[in-house]
Amino acid sequence: MTEIRFYGEGLAGFTRTEPLPGRFIVLEGTDGVGRSTQIALLREWIESKGYAVRSTGLKRSELAGRGIKEAMRGHTLGLLTANLFYATDMVDRLEKVIIPALRAGFVVLTDRYIYSIIARALVRGVDPTWIRDIFGFALIPDAVFYLHADLPHLIPRVLNARGFDYWESGMDFLPYRDYYDAFVEYQTRLLAQFDAIAEEYSFCHIDATQSIRHVFQKLTAEIEKVLADMRPISPHEAQKELDEAQAQSLPTKRKSV
C-alpha cells in the first residue's frame, strides 16, 4: 500500500485518503551510476513475479517533457525557471501517470524523483527552503534507493555511455572552460549534496561501485520486502483497472466549451 502522505500541502483537488494499492519505488543517484540499467532489470524481475510495472523518469511528461528539452538546448534557461519547469514536469507525471498507476495496482518504478532536482538546485545556490516548498505537492514514496558511486567509478561509466553532458557537468554555472574539470567539480559537489539529502530523507543506501549483478541482488532483496504483502496483479488486469478509471474521468474532460 502506498499511504497518502505528501511532503507539504499536497495536490489541489486530491481528496482520497485511503492508501493506494500499488507500490511507489524510486531510484536516485548521480549521472552514470547505473539507474536506468537497474530499472530495466528490475522491471523484468518484478513482472516475472506476477506484478504489473510502470516506469517513469524526469522530462517524460506529456505536458512539459518536450518543452524542457527544447529549453535546455539553448543557453537562456535560468535557474528558477528550470526548477519550476522540472516541477511542472513532475506534477504532470504524478497526477497523470504515477498516481493513476498506483491506484490501479501497478508497481511504479521512478528513475529519479524530486531529490535529484533538489540536489541540483542546492548545488547551484537556490534557496533551500524555496525548492523544498515547491515540492510540497509530492507524494512520499514507499522506498527510495540511493545508488552511490564515487567519482573514480563514475567517470569511465559516463565516458562509455555518452560523454560529459553540459548540464551534468555544471557548465551552466561553474567557471571552467573544460568539461572534464567542470564535471569533476560539479559531481563532487553534487555527491556531497546527495549524501546530505540521503540522510535527510532516509534513503536506502546501495553501494553502486560493485558489479551490476551485485547491485541488482541488493535491490531485489530490498524490493522483496516492499512487495511482501502485495497481491500479484497481471499487467492485463492492472491495465484494465487503469482504463476504467480513466474512462470514468473522461466525461468531465470532454465537456465542450
Binding site: G8, E9, G10, L11, A12, G13, E62, L63, A64, R66, G67, E70, A71, G74, T76, L77, G78, L79, L80, T81, N83, L84, F85, A87, T88, V91, D92, E95, K96, D127, T129, W130, D133, I134, G136, F137, T252, K253, K255, V257
Partner: protein, 253 residues
C-alpha cells in the same frame, strides 16, 4: 522602491497592474508606458504568460486540456520566473522603469480560485521582486462581465474556469470563476498593500490618478538616450528611410 525578497532595494522602479478581466488595467498601463517614454524614461515592459521559453508548453497544455490546478500554477510560475530572470530583474538592476501587466497577484487570485493552497502558491513565488507600486483596478463584477461578455465572445476553456467544473455553461462558469478571483483580490489589498484604483472612473481620470501616484517615485530612474538619430537626420537633411529596419520602435515623439 522595488525590493528583492531579502529586502535589498533595487535601483529601478517596478509598477504593476492587476485586476480581473475587463477592469481596463492593460489600457491604463499602455497609456502610462507611452507617457513615460515621452518623458524620456527607459521603460521595459513585461506581460503575463509571454515567456518565449515557456509559453509553448502552456499553450500545449491549454489546447490539449492537460492542465490541472497544480500544473497550471507551476507552468505559469515558470513563465514568470523566466521573465523575472531575463527581463524584469536585469532592467531593475540597471535602474530602469519596469511595467508589468499582471504580476504574482494574478497567480494568487486564479490559482486559489482553482483550489490551490494559498500558502503554497505564495511560497512558490517567494523569489519575486516586491513592486514599487502594485495598482489594483477594482471594478464590480457586473461591470466587468458587461464589458467582456457584451460582444458574446467565445470563451476559452481555462479562461472560463471550465476545468474546475463550476458550471457546464461557459458564461455562467466564467462569471462564477471571476467572482471567486475578485474575492481573492479583495483579500490581497491589505495583505500586500495594493493601491486600489476605482476602475469605473473615466479612463482619463484613472490615468491622472496613476501618474500622480508614481510621479514622486521616479527620482533617479534611468533615462533613455533621447533619440540621437533625429539629430543626424536634421543635420544632414535626410529622411531616414532605412531606420525602420534597425530601430525596434520608431515612435514619433
Amino acid at each position: 522602491m522595488a525590493q528583492l525578497p531579502d529586502g535589498r532595494a533595487l535601483p529601478g522602479k517596478l509598477f504593476i497592474v492587476e485586476g480581473i478581466d475587463g477592469s481596463g488595467k492593460s489600457t491604463q498601463l499602455d497609456l502610462l508606458r507611452k507617457w513615460l517614454i515621452g518623458q524620456g524614461y527607459c521603460v521595459a515592459f513585461s506581460e503575463w504568460n509571454s515567456s518565449p521559453l515557456v509559453k509553448a508548453t502552456t499553450k500545449r497544455g491549454k489546447k490539449k486540456r492537460l492542465l490541472t490546478p497544480t500544473s497550471f500554477s507551476l507552468i505559469h510560475a515558470a513563465d514568470f520566473a523566466d521573465r523575472l530572470e531575463r527581463q524584469i530583474l536585469p532592467a531593475l538592476k540597471a535602474g530602469a522603469i519596469v511595467l508589468a501587466d499582471r504580476y504574482i497577484y494574478t497567480a494568487f487570485g486564479r490559482d486559489v480560485a482553482r483550489g490551490v493552497s494559498p500558502t503554497w502558491v505564495r511560497k512558490v513565488y517567494a523569489f519575486a521582486v516586491k513592486p514599487t507600486v502594485a495598482f489594483y483596478f477594482r471594478v464590480p463584477l457586473e461591470e466587468s462581465l458587461r464589458r467582456i461578455l457584451s460582444g458574446r465572445p467565445k470563451l476559452k476553456y481555462y479562461e472560463a474556469g471550465m476545468d474546475i467544473g463550476l458550471s457546464d455553461d461557459p458564461y455562467e462558469s466564467f462569471s462564477l470563476f471571476q467572482s471567486r478571483i475578485l474575492e481573492e483580490y479583495d483579500k490581497m489589498v491589505d495583505e500586500f498593500g495594493l493601491t486600489v484604483v476605482d476602475a469605473t472612473l473615466p479612463l482619463v481620470k484613472q490615468q491622472e490618478i496613476v501618474r500622480e501616484i508614481i510621479t514622486p517615485l521616479l527620482g533617479g530612474a534611468l533615462r533613455a538616450e533621447p533619440s540621437a538619430w533625429r539629430e543626424v537626420l536634421a543635420a544632414e537633411s535626410v529622411y531616414g528611410r532605412y531606420l525602420d529596419e534597425v530601430l525596434p520602435e520608431r515612435s514619433e515623439p
